[in-house]
């Protein structure tokens, strides 16, 4: 599918795309090399060092248990990216399959799937995620399930409408006239033309997943201490907001860094791959 590579080359001329790409690369590097980059481990407590402001020894200061904030932040990127990537993969696969099915066949399959998305959308995503995590209990695995469960519907709706438009294209009709089977038409003629949309959607879904992960962590429903989830760090920092505001500042900046990076990347990709797509 060379034309995707061509579009990527075009995206390469787009400044925001390149900035996004650099941010994504730095994040992946931080997550992979966390053990080498960070000067301390994320759970090493030195109580006498607690609540120190940023200094040469602790670049971003320490928290109430004397743990090095910088090290915890770097290790936190691992959790954010891992949870985000797995959740986005699940919601993409589920959402795309259901979207193709609903869009191509229509009829009762379409009605059932659309009703399911309506039911999912009857609750604000974060509230639904909170409900699921409450039901399943707090853990990172359940966070992944919750995030995927609240986010697949968007993929389904967009892939469905794209499929509906594509299945009436002359080239799809021509394929049917040449004796291609339904499966072949979906996989060879429709899916490749939906893939750019999927790439854009998935890129823009990742920051949402990261924010939701940290929000659940913040509310105590996701990752549990002592894991250095950014949301967990923020929630612990609330108590010391007057004495040590720096503990609160940096995890937020880290989240913004991720979200901004992937948004820029996604928007750059969208402009190159499918400018008319609005998410």
């Amino acid at each position: 599918m060379t034309s995707i590579w061509k579009a990527l080359r075009e995206a390469g001329r787009n400044k925001s795309f390149l900035v996004g790409l650099a941010i994504m690369a730095s994040l992946i590097a931080a997550a992979l090399l966390a053990d080498w980059i960070s000067p301390y481990t994320y759970d090493e407590m030195v109580i006498v060092e607690a609540l120190r402001p940023p200094s040469g020894q602790h670049w971003l200061g320490t928290d109430h248990l004397g743990r090095d904030s910088f090290s915890r932040l770097i290790h936190g990127s691992r959790i954010a990216l891992k949870v985000g990537a797995i959740a986005v993969t699940i919601q993409t696969v589920v959402g795309v399959l259901l979207g193709l099915l609903a869009g191509y066949y229509g009829g009762w399959q379409d009605r059932v799937i659309i009703f399911l998305t309506d039911v999912i959308w009857a609750l604000p995503p974060i509230v639904l995620a909170i409900a699921i995590c409450t039901l399943l209990g707090p853990s990172l695995t359940n966070v992944i399930i919750a995030i995927a469960a609240v986010s697949w519907a968007q993929f389904t709706r967009i892939v469905r409408s794209k499929t509906q438009a594509l299945k009436n294209m002359p080239y799809v009709e021509a394929a049917r006239a040449m004796g291609e089977s339904d499966l072949s038409i979906i996989l060879r003629y429709i899916l490749p033309n939906v893939i750019p949309v999927i790439i854009v959607l998935a890129t823009l879904a990742l920051p949402v997943a990261v924010v939701n992960t940290t929000a659940l962590g913040f509310l105590g429903l996701g990752a549990q201490p002592p894991l250095p989830d950014w949301g967990v760090i923020l929630s612990e920092s609330m108590t010391y907001i007057r004495r040590a505001p720096w503990i609160s500042i940096f995890p937020g900046l880290a989240i913004i860094y991720v979200v901004l990076g992937f948004n820029l990347l996604g928007e750059g990709l969208r402009d190159a791959l499918d400018p008319r797509l609005k998410v």
């Binding site: 009857a122 909170i130 609330m238 609160s248 937020g252």
Partner: protein, 315 residues
């Protein structure tokens, strides 16, 4: 019956089905939770026989479907059960907390649109100008800020460092500022960007060229033909963004100790007070579905094409 009425009625029916589906889900979830209301009473005077009698009286020995119908009937009567922690009626609790939540969400919603739509129109019309580029970069950053951290940041800046505004609680206008800002800023950025891209899209449509060709002045073209058309999706988004705001309010209320339903939800979850959780989720579902239904019907009102398509004849 005209197209719009037919569509509105059908859309309302659809919403009722969606809410029913959510109640079934909620009931199923509560059913799967360990323990039933009788066990939760936790009194030494309960022996086996009394328990069985109570179960029979409350219908807990009936099949789940019948139990669901009983429960639904109670919900329709406004009886959402009692809180496990303090025994208060859930409906009364919710009624007491809802105004505070509506207070910040509706203020945030209005603020968001009053500011974002004119700015988005300007940015779109002057695409590429300094103002536009500034708007795009500021909104890019604003959209990336998570609610809970924005709240913390605002507390640090306004309440801790400068001691200008109250940090938490529900005390008059001043206490409203920080929660509303927290809630509205990211959404404002989204709305501005949506308005901007819709304006850009409409500007490229042929009917705008016609409007220019027939001699309309630029301001008239912009207001009557560009803004009017761009407002259709923007208005829909107004109503569709309500769920996001409600979701955000859960976190914002928690941070600012705002005595609304969101904070109640968080407390109930921490205390595993399931009847309250169930009641709040039901309430939020209702608010969400009502809002999106209004949004959809309003689209039909604003756009004759959609009115005809959704309400009229379909092949």
């Amino acid at each position: 019956m005209n197209d719009l009425t037919a569509y509105a009625i059908r859309r309302i029916f659809q919403s009722v089905f969606i809410v029913l589906a959510v109640t079934i889900l909620l009931f199923a979830i509560m059913h799967m939770m360990p323990g039933d209301p009788i066990q939760l009473i936790d009194s030494p005077r309960l022996d086996e026989a009394t328990t069985a009698k109570l179960r029979a009286r409350w219908g807990l020995d009936k099949p789940p479907v019948v139990q669901y119908l009983y429960w639904l009937l109670n919900v329709l009567k406004g009886d959402l059960g009692r809180s496990i922690t303090n025994g208060q009626s859930v409906s009364v609790l919710l009624a007491a907390r809802l105004p505070a939540t509506l207070h910040i969400t509706l203020t945030a919603l209005l603020l968001q649109y009053l500011v974002a739509v004119p700015l988005g129109l300007m940015a779109g019309y002057h695409q590429g100008s300094v103002f536009d580029r500034l708007a795009v970069s500021v909104t890019s950053v604003l959209r990336a800020i998570p609610y809970f951290w924005l709240g913390i940041l605002l507390i640090i800046v306004f309440a801790v460092s400068f001691r200008l505004l109250p940090v938490s609680g529900y005390r008059g206008f001043q206490s409203l500022i920080l929660p509303v800002l927290t809630l509205t800023l990211p959404a404002l950025a989204d709305t501005l960007r949506l308005t901007r891209s819709e304006v850009l899209e409409v500007l490229r449509e042929k009917h705008v060229t016609t409007a220019v060709a027939k001699g309309l002045r630029p301001q008239m073209v912009l207001l009557r033909h560009v803004l009017r058309n761009a407002l259709v999706p923007v208005t829909v988004m107004f109503f569709l963004s309500v769920p996001w705001l409600i979701g955000g309010s859960v976190i914002v209320e928690t941070i600012f100790a705002w005595p609304g339903t969101g904070r109640l939800l968080w407390k109930a979850i921490s205390a595993q007070d399931y009847p309250v959780v169930q009641g709040i989720i039901l309430l939020i579902t209702l608010l969400t579905v009502i809002s999106t239904t209004i949004g959809d019907i309003l689209t039909g009102l604003l756009d004759p094409r959609i009115r005809a398509e959704l309400g009229g004849r379909v092949a």
